[in-house]
Symmetry: C2
Subunit: 156 residues, 2 copies
């Protein structure tokens, strides 16, 4: 298990992190869609051409999962992350096509102690994914829970 | 391609649909996490026992993807679905463990025409997933776009 480098106290509003790139192949897009999102426009070129997407594109859940992979590999694995209770919003803004290069960026929006657990803090992050043309394809705002380096003092 | 049974006009606020069940195996949970969410508590029993989840549990994105599979197979494939612009909220409420039986239920919250496209209508749905104990594990509110059976009359 990697060393923990960042605890909750190390996060500050406004911090921006570049979390690397990932590029899905046509085979990966079809494999994910076959298992989890078998809509014709994610599986078949002809159906995709007739769809609003214009060509074979990745399931939105595949895009989220690829963003998660970058988050874990390039950020969470070095942190005291305890998981996430969820997201406040998620937008699939543009289709993701085979061979696209997707770059993930995170911006810290808010940090706050977790009332009921003095050893845990919460963060609210903006996660944005851009393709090689600079178009934003994914926008998410989500909460994270991180262990604190030093638990909060008990409230009197 | 299956026959379209439901167009946008066929959806009404308050409709509740039972969209079947899905049960992830331990192998599927580890395979998904290895590819997309390699945090120790999704891969390794010992790390999982030491985590807030108490035992090996599925990536939240795996849970969402399983919900999508039920949506597509038991609902969207019979509709004029054109995809989704995103979600307004997503909550991972309880861990999902190997062998859990997850049931998906959808409730129609809102329907409205799509201003800029007379042939398309929007829906806002609540998606809820429950485990075999009746505990809600996933809560999502999301938008869908569906082709209309009859395009809206042009506004004068």
């Amino acid at each position: 298990m990697p060393q923990i480098k960042y605890y909750w106290e190390d996060f500050a509003v406004g911090q921006v992190r570049d979390l690397g790139t990932i590029s899905p192949t046509r085979e990966e897009i079809i494999a994910f869609a076959s298992q989890f999102d078998p809509q014709p426009f994610h599986l078949d070129d002809e159906a995709a051409r007739a769809s609003v997407f214009g060509a074979l594109s990745a399931s939105g859940w595949h895009t989220c999962s690829m963003a998660m992979r970058l988050m874990v590999t390039n950020f969470l694995c070095e942190t005291s992350s305890l998981g996430s209770p969820g997201l406040e919003g998620l937008k699939w803004l543009k289709p993701v096509y085979p061979g696209d290069t997707l770059r993930l960026q995170s911006t810290m929006l808010e940090t706050k102690p977790m009332g009921k657990r003095p050893d845990v803090g919460m963060t609210r992050n903006l996660w944005e994914m851009f393709n090689q043309h600079g178009d934003k394809v994914l926008h998410m705002e989500g909460w994270g829970m991180f262990r604190r380096r030093t638990p909060a003092a008990p409230t009197p």
